[in-house]
């Protein structure tokens, strides 16, 4: 089968600023694809183009086998969209909203009503009655929004930062709902600023920065890209961090230091050699360590490494 989403060389400018600067993207059918990037990386612009809300200046994109510009209507028949801001009518109740969206999907009055009841039940909103959406909690609103994007069981579902602004409980609710969808064969494109979210939900991840994809792969593949394992050393005395960096048998270029946590962290190639080498060097120099550990890089480090912002690297590590 062909890919559910194909984007090639998408460009979009707002005034002088390029929101998208040649974005390429491929998402296989039935997978969850994470698009990871900082604010202003172009994630929302990409979603708006792929969901036919915005025309690209250059490049082309196909969703569910149809061109998003020339066959916008065909695309709209096959997609669901959960935008960054709740896209429901705040004055109406949840049931009124879903009923309205069902009618606009041309289910007819009776099926629209039935589908509304079904979705309210499934997303735990059956007891909301006539209450207007404006009185819902953030998590409830998000779930209703998600229900609204699933009226016709879309082939491709777009989730644009689905948990931004939610508390941990609301986030867990949305995650659970997204997981339950994937089994049904729906392709999901998920944008997020949270690495944890991409790691939890996505089969593959594209890292986007300044309007283009800078890396693409599974979470594990991306972790390998930053040079594999790291060694973390926590010293008893932060004052000795400088001395430790100078004498440890590691590549000084990749070392990062966090004075508050008395931590230095460095990439390593040979795990065991690095571990024994570090311990020996510290002993010989008489520097006391509280903890020495080997670990895989976190997605945070991968992300910051790939987007290449040194300031952010220093803050995060």
């Amino acid at each position: 089968m062909t890919d559910a989403i194909v984007a090639e060389g998408l460009r979009k400018k707002y005034g002088d600023k390029a929101a998208l600067d040649g974005l390429d993207l491929r998402v296989a059918r039935g997978t969850v694809h994470g698009v990871l990037g900082p604010n202003g990386a172009g994630k929302t612009t990409a979603v708006r183009i792929l969901t036919t809300l915005l025309r690209p200046d250059e490049g082309r994109a196909e969703v569910a086998g149809h061109d998003v510009v020339r066959q916008a209507y065909e695309v709209r028949l096959r997609i669901g969209l959960l935008g960054q801001h709740a896209a429901v009518d705040e004055e109406l109740s949840g049931r009124q909203n879903l009923d309205m969206f069902g009618r606009l999907h041309h289910l007819g009055a009776r099926r629209a009503r039935g589908r509304a009841d079904e979705l309210l039940e499934r997303f735990g909103l059956a007891d909301t009655g006539r209450k207007p959406v404006s009185a819902y909690s953030g998590g409830m609103r998000r779930r209703l929004d998600l229900a609204a994007s699933l009226i016709t069981q879309p082939e491709v579902l777009f989730l644009d930062e689905p948990t931004t602004g939610l508390d941990p409980r609301g986030r867990a609710e949305v995650w659970a709902a997204v997981r339950s969808l994937v089994g049904g064969g729906t392709t999901v494109l998920l944008t997020t600023q949270y690495l944890e979210e991409a790691d939890q939900l996505a089969d593959r991840i594209s890292v986007v920065d300044r309007g283009r994809a800078v890396a693409d792969g599974t979470a594990d593949e991306l972790k390998v890209m930053t040079g594999g394992d790291r060694i973390d050393v926590v010293l008893r005395d932060a004052g000795q961090l400088g001395a430790a960096v100078a004498l440890l048998p590691v590549d000084a270029a990749g070392v990062s230091v966090d004075t508050d946590r008395r931590l230095l962290s460095a990439p390593v190639t040979d795990r065991m050699a690095a571990l024994s080498g570090v311990v020996r060097a510290l002993e010989e120099a008489g520097i006391e360590a509280e903890d020495v550990s080997l670990r895989r890089p976190t997605l945070d480090e991968v992300f910051l490494h790939l987007t290449g912002d040194d300031e952010r690297v220093k803050e995060a590590v």
Partner: protein, 253 residues
């Protein structure tokens, strides 16, 4: 997809009507406000400078036309609020007829205006106003008023598309007053300085008000303005309807 144009437009109209049942106070205020203006100008402000015959017969058509003109601002407000909500994105990402959102808005606003005309004429009747032009004249007058409202509606939609921000609605809400008052709604242009009188006579609102007075058979009403009261709104529609529709299509730019 145009096969669903009617269904979708009806769904969007139902949405607006559901808003009415959700916010009955807002609907009530919308109906009471023009009645208040009518009472204010009928009793408090008095006036009717240069007006022949009964002032109430002069004032009521003027107030009805003015209410239709003020509809511009309520349409603009509603469309602006809608555009600034996420729900419009959902509509646009759905396989629905393109213009249904705007059609729903128009139908709901026209219904509201028709209702408003009913309430106002009922109050006016209680105040002693009478339509002397028979049923045909009455229906013709209501038709002209609604046609005028329809033109205001599309100007309102267009302005909302152009301005797009709630702050700019306020500016229009203020501007609507002088433009509404620079008409013959309350006073005859003959009583004004020459230059002002000419501006006032050119105001499309004045044309509608004069034609409505004529059709209501008000004493001393000028005749021969029905043509202008049809042409003005039609001309405005010819300009603003396509502009507004194009603007709506261009949301994807």
């Amino acid at each position: 997809m145009s096969a669903y144009a009617l269904t979708d437009s009806w769904t969007m109209t139902r949405r607006e009507l559901a808003h009415w049942t959700r916010q009955p106070v807002r609907v009530l205020v919308g109906l009471v406000f023009p009645v208040m203006l009518l009472l204010m100008f009928g009793y408090l402000v008095g006036g009717g400078r240069g007006v022949e015959g009964e002032y109430v017969d002069y004032l009521v058509p003027g107030m009805l036309a003015l209410t239709m003109a003020f509809g511009l601002e309520s349409t603009m407000l509603a469309v602006t609020q809608d555009l600034n909500k996420g729900v419009i994105d959902r509509f646009r990402s759905m396989p629905m007829a393109n213009g249904a959102v705007l059609v729903g808005r128009s139908v709901a606003d026209m219904l509201q205006s028709a209702l408003s005309l009913m309430v106002m004429t009922a109050v006016a009747f209680a105040l002693g106003w009478r339509a002397h032009g028979g049923l045909t004249g009455f229906l013709g007058a209501i038709g002209l008023l609604l046609l005028f409202r329809f033109a205001m509606l599309w100007i309102g939609i267009h302005l909302a598309m152009v301005a797009g921000k709630p702050e700019l609605v306020q500016a229009v809400q203020i501007l609507v007053w002088p433009v509404g008052f620079l008409s013959n709604a309350f006073a005859a242009p003959g009583s004004m300085p020459d230059w002002l009188g000419s501006v006032v006579e050119w105001n499309p609102l004045s044309q509608t008000a004069t034609a409505v007075r004529d059709l209501f058979g008000a004493q001393g009403a000028e005749s021969g303005h029905v043509g202008a009261a049809v042409l003005w709104p039609v001309a405005l529609l010819v300009v603003f309807f396509p502009l507004a529709v194009r603007r709506f299509g261009a949301l994807s730019k």
